[in-house]
Subunit: 427 residues, 2 copies
């Protein structure tokens, strides 16, 4: 019994709601059988005798969830972003993704990605791979070894992309089924498959129908892109004249949320009222990727509205549209983008707060995995211990200010320890 109990001590801070932080200074965070089992200022007598990991004046936060990241684009982080989405895909992204046919390259590149993700504050992630089945398995093997909880998708794309990376429709479906068989044979503990049609412009109706068949049998979740860029949205309107709006093109194939089809749509910068209503109705998760939306000149998503409407929303690094896997940066970019939207577009939409962006990065995105991203009782015990002493201060700061400072300035150097479902990750 006792060996399943883990107790961390430090300054515990998390968000139950987007409105406020819950702060427990110098308190004990108890893990029982991988789940949160209470926070105490004074440790109850019945818990005495269990070993305590005392992290002194460190901050302890829930693990963060990256709802949208492209692992194969990691080598491109931080350069070549002076184009809009469609030109950038053609010039930079597709040529890079094509390299993953080479398993040596895939092993080297994915090894770097997995290592850096492990060292970050991220405990869970939804990851795009490429069309290549063997490389996708390599990525899953590497992520499994990190101990992080991830969904990984072999990408499907059968039209409107260069021949060197384009699949035949049937080939794409067959490879997906083979990939799912490969995955089933691996007995992963932490790594799960997610169906990953790239985006409507790259997926024929036949491909989407085939994927829906696989989804209906497997009940797998789905991830894709939605309403990221004006040119892209206009193209989808041309490609799918019968769709009422961009998201309806996914919904017509049955790959847009609903009870049996957990779905993440990345971006949602240009979603109109109908699309927003449908996402809400179907419980679609929005992956807000503010840095990517800046770097690719896409625009700024109406996140204030998404929060006000109580929609499911988390943050995505969207590497390599975003330059970093560091979700603290995604949080500060989300605040900054919302302030620019407020100033330049609509002064009825109040800027986002530190509480709101932290909520999105933790409990908001964590909800895709179930009960994750909070320290409420019964939640999976994902915890990150932050040592912020590198950022010297001439005077003591309160816990909330220290966390806000992390949102702007923390990187992997601040991660002193990290736990996923109660298991410590070796950093």
């Amino acid at each position: 019994m006792r060996k399943n109990i883990l107790i961390l001590k430090g300054n515990i801070i998390y968000t139950k709601t987007p409105e406020e932080f819950t702060v427990c200074e110098h308190s004990y965070l108890v893990c029982r059988d991988g789940s949160v089992d209470g926070i105490y200022r004074t440790l109850p007598f019945r818990l005495g005798g269990n070993p305590i990991r005392d992290f002194g004046d460190c901050l302890i936060i829930p693990g963060l969830t990256d709802l949208h990241v492209h692992a194969p684009q990691y080598p491109l982080r931080g350069f070549g972003m002076d184009q809009e989405l469609l030109d950038w895909l053609e010039a930079n992204i597709f040529p890079e993704e094509a390299r993953y046919e080479d398993m040596d390259y895939a092993g080297r590149a994915y090894g770097i990605f997995a290592e850096n993700l492990k060292r970050s504050a991220t405990t869970r992630a939804c990851v795009f791979a490429t069309v290549h089945r063997p490389a996708t398995m390599k990525l899953m093997d590497l992520l499994e070894q990190t101990g992080l909880e991830t969904f990984v998708g072999k990408v499907n794309m059968d039209r409107n992309c260069p021949g060197y990376i384009c699949e035949e429709t049937q080939e794409s479906l067959d490879e997906t089924e083979d990939w799912l068989r490969d995955v089933a044979g691996r007995n992963y503990q932490h790594t799960r498959p997610v169906l990953t049609p790239r985006f409507i412009p790259a997926c024929s109706d036949a491909l989407m129908e085939g994927l829906k068949k696989i989804q209906a049998e497997s009940h797998l979740p789905v991830q894709s892109h939605l309403s990221e860029n004006p040119q892209e949205a206009a193209w989808v309107a041309e490609l799918c004249p019968d769709a009422e709006f961009y998201g309806d093109a996914y919904d017509r194939s049955g790959l847009f949320g609903g009870a049996d089809c957990l779905t993440i749509m990345a971006h949602c910068v240009y979603s109109d009222d109908r699309e927003i209503a449908r996402m809400k109705e179907k419980g679609v998760f929005i992956a807000h990727c503010p840095e990517s939306n800046m770097n690719l000149s896409s625009g700024i998503a109406p996140v204030r509205r998404y929060l006000d409407e109580g929609m499911r929303i988390g943050l995505g690094s969207d590497v390599a549209g975003g330059s970093t896997e560091n979700l603290f940066r995604a949080m500060s970019f989300a605040v900054q983008a919302s302030k620019m939207r407020w100033r330049l577009t609509d002064q009825t939409e109040a800027p986002l707060t530190a509480e709101e962006v932290f909520y999105m990065a933790s409990k908001g995105g964590g909800a895709f995995f179930g009960k994750a991203g909070s320290f409420e009782n019964g939640y999976d015990f994902d915890a990150v211990v932050l040592d912020d002493s590198r950022l010297k201060s001439p005077r003591p700061l309160d816990i909330r200010s220290r966390l806000e400072r992390m949102i702007y300035l923390a990187d992997e150097r601040e991660i002193r320890a990290k736990f996923v479902k109660g298991q410590e990750i070796s950093l």
Copy 2:
């Protein structure tokens, strides 16, 4: 003779103009008597025998100039930015600046600032202190010890600010003269004074006239703030009904550029045609501070226009409106802000390029100090050696891509060595 020669070897990259990088792979950068004296792919015979510092595959860039940074606000970096300028000054900044009456606090806080500035890629900076003369001297002493080239200003402010930090007009002028005497007595090699009226709302006409008298006698440069925020600009219009525009209020006091009054104005987000024309005519330097302008919801400056008009412009971190002294971040924020301005405001203003933001951070801002921020012959030998091996790549990248990646991802960990006027800074 020979002992005045220093030779660095590495991948040299810099900008002579905002349009393009000059790249010299695996080349020799020669310093003679503190100035750049040539770049060579093969070292000329006459230079043989001089010791060479071989930095292998590292990048060598010119030192960067931070044209606008508030040293006393450094303890506030990264939190408390959820207000606009005027409320933020009142709630956060003035109370923090008041602490610098306490020399113990000033020593601790400025010690942290000076140390971190030394470890950054910045070789030159224009720094605001507070109204306090002793603390300003402490800051100058500490900066002198770093070996960086800086201008530092004791702030003047005699109206519209809380009593605990507001000066009497004559007191402000007397303290300024005493401060300049103190500075003259110190024989600094690297640290110079700059007149620093905080901004028009906090400076009476009488104070500005008194400062002009000091400026006319001393020929000192001037730094202040201009057209940062709409509320602030409206307030200046009320306070100075005779001024044609915000900048004219400075110009009427003779503190707005011209042959004998080198001037930096930070922000210039809302400068109108007349203000822009006047800045151009008077050669006023613009300190573009993109992160601060996001964090305080100020807006996005029309930098494309400033560049097209050939105006003098550099980058400022504007800590603590900006969260970091890291000028690489200022560069990437400048690109990102310009993309949002393009998307949301004006699609005739093309986004900034990596070349342009690097130029602003190096030669653009460096021009305030004379010939600094470039590796053209005769420029002061300010050089920063970047070791980017922490950012692992599965394949070789070209020099330009490696530098662009630094703009998004570099921090002080990448700084392997740093030289100012040919003198190595101990990191």
